[in-house]
Chain length 333, copies 2
């Protein structure tokens, strides 16, 4: 059978563009014993893919990424057609898997694609990153950068569940409205709309920030450091604002604030914490059942649009989890 996949045409020197990717039609051969044929339903679009392009990917490599999908044929007794599976086998419509490539999903948390977002690595990042490394205490002030994204939108709500004052930062009016009205943060800032972010932070956090959950790492980060309260914790979860820089921009200038206020900065990588996934999903299941948690997804259709969806991450076009829907019959969450 024929299927399509996305390969790297060249390593982007700066912001990726469509011509950095190639959509390729390939042929899938008959299964051999032990193999399983999977049809992907949703493909996860994630910022960390940009780092892979810098570090390990070469031209012509398949773009790596997680998908949820369905077994459509099996030569393996452990799998049968109709089973739902999570995998990390790259940007492709169908693929031939070995058992070890597949995690069977029971769908207990809701639509399958939640396992790519709130119930997957982005959700776990928010949960372990904020709670274990940010260690918010009741009454403290938590600042969430990129709060309209897949990770930040959950981190904002976990901070609220921790009985904190939550200041959410996002880049559009609709994200800000959702954060205050649906996610229930204390206040939200549209950073594209305030003339002076530092002044706005000073106004909203006159007592300072205790926990900064940082996923961007651009010049706003340096400004926020200056508003941290003594013994504040910074969880550095991502650097989406710097990923496309050919030459590193100045990063943290305000080292004095780190020393004087005895701040802690933690670089966080969710892959260190995958063993916490069952614990997290059990907590999330309760939150969902109690209707305490909200999420958003931004869906584009057809694998040919995966490169554009990815490029859109860097200008904040995603509201919540950015997904490519590969099966047109699948429904949004």
């Amino acid at each position: 059978m024929k299927t399509r996949e996305i390969r790297l045409e060249r390593v982007p020197p700066g912001v990726p563009c469509e011509s950095d990717f190639e959509i390729r039609e390939t042929t899938i051969d008959a299964l051999r014993p032990g193999q399983v044929l999977v049809k992907n339903t949703f493909l996860s679009i994630d910022p960390y893919t940009r780092n892979r392009m810098k570090s390990v990917l070469k031209p012509d490599d398949l773009i790596p990424g997680r998908c949820v999908g369905e077994v459509i044929q099996s030569m393996n007794t452990a799998f049968h057609p109709g089973q739902k599976v999570l995998s990390a086998c790259g940007w492709r419509e169908h693929f031939v898997a070995q058992s070890a490539d597949l995690q069977v999903l029971d769908g207990a948390l809701g639509p399958l694609q939640l396992y790519l977002g709130i119930a997957g690595s982005p959700g776990l990042t928010a949960y372990v990153g904020l709670l274990d490394y940010g260690r918010p205490r009741p009454g403290e002030t938590v600042f969430i950068s990129a709060a309209g994204g897949a990770v930040g939108s959950l981190a904002s709500q976990i901070a609220k569940f921790s009985d904190c004052k939550v200041i959410a930062c996002a880049g559009s009016a609709d994200k800000v409205a959702w954060l205050t009205e649906v996610a229930g943060v204390t206040a939200a800032i549209n950073y594209r709309d305030v003339p002076d972010l530092s002044a706005e932070v000073a106004r909203l956090c006159p007592e300072g920030i205790d926990v900064l959950f940082e996923t961007v790492g651009d010049q706003k980060f340096d400004a926020l450091i200056g508003h941290m309260r003594p013994h504040g914790r910074i969880v550095l979860v991502g650097l989406i604002g710097r990923m496309n820089d050919a030459v590193s921009k100045p990063g943290l200038t305000n080292l004095e604030a780190i020393l004087m206020n005895r701040l802690t900065i933690h670089g966080f990588g969710v892959n260190d914490h995958m063993g916490r996934m069952p614990e997290f999903r059990a907590v999330l299941k309760r939150w969902i059942a109690e209707r305490r948690v909200a999420w958003r997804e931004t869906i584009v259709d057809d694998i040919s649009n995966a490169p554009n969806a990815f490029i859109g991450l860097f200008s904040g076009e995603n509201f919540g989890k950015m997904l490519v829907r590969l099966d047109p019959t699948a429904e949004a969450a």
Copy 2:
């Protein structure tokens, strides 16, 4: 009686110079009930004084600082002439104290001025900063910046006691020789003498740095970040390399290394940990008794030389603890 003290003439805009200070002769009046007259023996010269000049000191203020000395007259039943005391009453030869200003010293650790260096705040900084925040484990690689200073020279030895590979960085051949031959570090780098610090670190730490004990914060810091091993810990103890900058220089550019290697940076302030002093002194007493620990002091005589001693800190003129001897009969340790 007449005595001398040092006051701030103006807040230095950059590197301090002698004319930023004023030596003033003052008169000490007869004691009132409850008061104690102290003659200082040694005055501690510390980098953090530069931050006080930026933040709280105004022209004409007394320069703050710790001293050890002797009670020479007392109108307080808790004190008697001849008692040795530690105080933090500024750069002056004599002063009138209240009980709360004075900590009586028993001299059990050795010469009095040790309480300003290895047995005082610099020693506690090395002890708590390295052990509690650096958390070195046997076999790990610890890098000590400014290892010839009061804090770094002890931190280097504590890292060695922790069964670590210790790489010490200092700015002169005699410091490097002392660090390897007396302090017993694994290797020492004279940063003024290596054409490419990063290449030298790569050569000496091919497996990377686990713990970076950082007291300088200049461009070397940014280079070192790139050599940190995954899950490395950075203890930011001082920023002597940035204190005299009128405008903040670029600080940490390599944020990518913090995220990718899941590093932790701790801003450390010894004042948060003064309650640990008895524990530390008990440990240090044993180390000294066992002749396991070495230290150095750099002594200048006469209070009129305190400004120059202070200025010398920023070019690394101190080897170990920088002290001003106010009593010409006092001996070096």
